[in-house]
Amino acid sequence: VTVSDQQLPTRSSSPLPGRPEAQANLADILERVLDKGIVIAGDIQINLLDIELLTIKLRLLIASVERAREMGINWWESDPSLQNLGPGHGADDDRLERENRELRDRLERIERQLGSGDG
């Protein structure tokens, strides 16, 4: 029996009739083979959680960041592969938080100013 990932049952609960099974979604595969699966140190030391993978992860991440942020989801802040930032990272974090707070304050001030006209 030959199984290829084309035949990987990617079943939607409402499949279009007569449509061949779609090829497995790349996101489904990458989030598994890159991020999951058991990690056993081989002879060739390539740490996927190194710069390289992080670049990839960022690419995977970046487009959903804005929406996630809006929803208050910030799991990447507790993802060790994005966390192990070495010295100086705390200061940067603080700066980011401060800037965000300042922006939010500014926004509220502007809105208050605009809103005071109708009060």
């Binding site: 029996v1 990987l8 049952p9 990617t10 079943r11 939607s12 609960s13 409402s14 497995a24 979604n25 996101a27 489904d28 595969i29 990458l30 598994r32 083979v33 999951k36 699966g37 058991i38 990690v39 056993i40 140190a41 081989g42 002879d43 060739i44 030391q45 390539i46 740490n47 996927l48 190194d50 710069i51 390289e52 670049t55 960022l58 690419r59 991440l61 970046i62 959903s64 960041v65 942020r69 929803m71 989801i73 799991w75 990447w76 994005l82 192990n84 930032l85 070495g86 990272h89 940067d92 980011l96 965000n100 922006l103 500014r106 926004l107 502007i110 809105e111 605009l114 006209g117 109708d118």
Partner: protein
């Protein structure tokens, strides 16, 4: 005069808000990119392009490991693996690793670093790795290894099987007869917002007030209403995700929720509320499917789609780094 001020303010407001939001997003993005650059910087920053090409490319072949199985169930794998290599097995102490040969010129640390940043290359290798695991998994219990588990020789693989024997046997026992299923819940964001607004008395109050206002006052009120609905929609989204996850979990031995996927890679339309994996006994899979259909119907008013993928090898349930 007041009205004119209101109008002037109302005209300026969208731009100011857009600017502020754009700034906030830019700051966040900069911080993430900076974090990425700094990560793992024990060795210097990404090597400069004009780095002396002193080291000659390694020659010969090295060993790519796919997964570990019990020696007695070692399944035949007939498809080509990574880099077109034949899939073989290496046995030691009752365990077998499925492996393939890959050219050292592309799979030792240095060239790998470059290749891994090439999404097309990564896709090819990832799909090949996954396809081998799928075929093995169709016939046996397997412990999937992460991409790029590489050995210089067969001897290295035997040593690994020997060192990790207890852990591997434990994992094989635990995973016997189990399958991983992926479940995604995707809704129509407009219908989600609509449902959230309908359910909120506060939103109704805003709308009544809004009907009596004009100019800048109306503009601000509308913004407040929009923000309120957005917050209610986000709360509804979390509730739906949590409820669906809880129901599906009842069918599973183990479950994990993962971050929503990036639209560019997954190509999904709508809002992905849940991206989770469930470890399910093979004989309960039909029940999982029936439940997914039922949950989809329950959330039809949100335009919900519940997508199941699987069976996957148990990638999400062999957590842990070893060695």
């Amino acid at each position: 005069m007041d009205d004119e001020l209101d109008l002037w303010a109302a005209r300026r407001a969208p731009r100011l808000l857009a600017q502020a939001e754009a700034q906030a997003v830019a700051v966040l993005r900069d911080a993430l990119v900076k974090a990425a650059r700094r990560e793992g910087r024990d060795d210097p920053m990404p090597a400069p392009p004009d780095r002396p090409a002193a080291a000659p490319l390694p020659t010969g072949e090295i060993v790519w490991a796919y997964c570990v199985v019990r020696a007695q169930d070692a399944p035949p794998v007939e498809i080509e693996g990574v880099a077109g290599g034949r899939v073989e097995r290496i046995e030691a102490h009752g365990l077998a690793a499925l492996v393939g040969r890959v050219p050292a010129a592309h799979f030792t640390a240095e060239p790998l670093r470059e290749h891994l940043n090439d999404l097309a290359w990564l896709e090819e290798v990832a799909r090949a790795h996954e396809a081998v695991l799928q075929q093995a998994f169709a016939a046996a219990t397997i412990v999937p290894l992460r991409l790029c588990t590489l050995y210089e020789s067969d001897e290295g693989v035997r040593r690994m099987l020997d060192h990790e024997r207890a852990m591997l046997i434990d994992a094989l026992d635990r995973l016997q007869g189990l399958q991983e299923w992926g479940v995604k819940v995707i809704v129509d964001p407009e219908r989600l917002a609509h449902a959230a607004g309908e359910a909120s008395p506060q939103a109704a109050t805003y709308e009544q007030e809004l009907a009596q206002r004009t100019g800048g006052g109306a503009y601000m009120l509308r913004r407040r209403l929009e923000r309120h609905v957005r917050e209610r929609a986000d709360a509804l989204a979390s509730d739906v995700a949590a409820a669906v996850h809880a129901r599906l979990q009842d069918w599973a031995v183990d479950a994990v929720a993962r971050p929503a996927q990036n639209r560019e890679l997954s190509g999904h339309d709508g809002e992905m509320l849940l991206n989770a994996a469930y470890l399910v006994e093979a004989q309960r899979v039909d029940g999982l499917h029936a439940l997914a259909d039922e949950l989809e119907d329950d959330h039809a008013h949100l335009g919900a789609r519940i997508e199941l993928t699987g069976p996957w090898p148990p990638f999400n349930f062999v957590e842990g780094a070893i060695g």
